[in-house]
Symmetry: C2
Subunit: 197 residues, 2 copies
């Protein structure tokens, strides 16, 4: 709909694809739609992305990366390890919950995208657990946490909090009492990580 005369870049295609996905949903978003939105032929899109699947994967990666980048800021903020871990987990929960709550349809769209795309999700999770590992390793370094293997501890914490960040639980994120549940799990985990007294 906007036949801009700028040169066609992968970036512009990704933006247009996001827009088409937002408008039409994952099932009806076609490469032809994306091309039309850019005012080019669909053959041109295939010059930048070999297949529709590759294009969708790129969009998915961008979306996931935006969350990772926001959280990265918390990893090295000023507070102590325990506060930082709490803040990071709370921020992860808040980020996912907002994505799901603010625009449920768009969230459903991206849930479909992530489902069809294990690789991008795997990298995203690796990203997140690596951030968690840094927080826990710092805590172990300063004697606040006991963690012989910080990476393993990070994975355990990540898995144990799945209920508060995994999309398959999204419908429960609006349930009353969910914040208490979150706090209960995080408290338990932090007690578990704590150095013996």
């Amino acid at each position: 709909m906007a036949p801009t005369s700028e040169t066609l870049t992968a970036e512009r295609i990704l933006e247009a694809t996001e827009e088409v996905l937002r408008r039409h949903g994952p099932a009806k978003a076609t490469v032809v739609d994306v091309a039309r939105a850019l005012g080019v032929s669909h053959g041109s899109v295939y010059r930048h992305f070999r297949t529709k699947a590759v294009l969708r994967e790129a969009v998915t990666k961008r979306w996931l990366d935006r969350t990772s980048e926001r959280l990265a800021g918390i990893v090295s903020d000023g507070s102590g390890p325990e506060e930082r871990l709490r803040a990071w987990l709370a921020a992860l929960f808040a980020a996912k919950r907002h994505k799901a709550g603010d625009d449920p349809e768009l969230f459903a769209t991206y849930t479909v995208l992530t489902d069809e795309n294990g690789t991008a999700v795997g990298e995203h999770i690796a990203d997140l657990t690596s951030q968690l590992t840094r927080i826990i390793a710092a805590g172990a370094g300063s004697g606040i946490f006991t963690a012989p293997d910080p990476a393993a501890a990070a994975r355990a914490v990540f898995h144990a909090t799945g209920r508060f960040h995994d999309p398959c639980y999204a419908r429960e994120w609006t349930a009353p009492g969910i914040d208490e549940e979150f706090t209960a799990v995080v408290d338990l985990l932090i007690r578990g990580l704590g150095a013996p007294r």
Copy 2:
């Protein structure tokens, strides 16, 4: 296919329904199929179950209850609270993993049934957390665990181990390293529950 002349009971209908679901899958299992399997008219089935949804719910409940009952045995076995908690969580994981692994198609069928049936699932989860509560309360009573609110602690433990019993993770239950992940999470939780040293 088996026009037995026994009287038609709810029990017999449930058995036939399980069989039809096993054979045809959740999408194609019809009330007419169930009636045919019993050698009766479908009107007779409606005498015992008001709607198809009610029938499916009853089948779902039976299936879930079978798991609950198996686990109930562990709640009051001889060992100490920590071992009992470990054994119970491991048994829950093992039960679910076997259900998923032994007959993936049947598991997929019941996953559809549980998805369409929040109430039965809710009761099943209430059942399980109540068993967990008893274990944790016993541990708190003998000073092994610290748990001001055993029911809340039980819910936290149940949520934190979701990765190892929630059907939405079933595809990861065959991944290598899953046992180490399970142990890591359980260790962390048990450390978190432990009385301060």
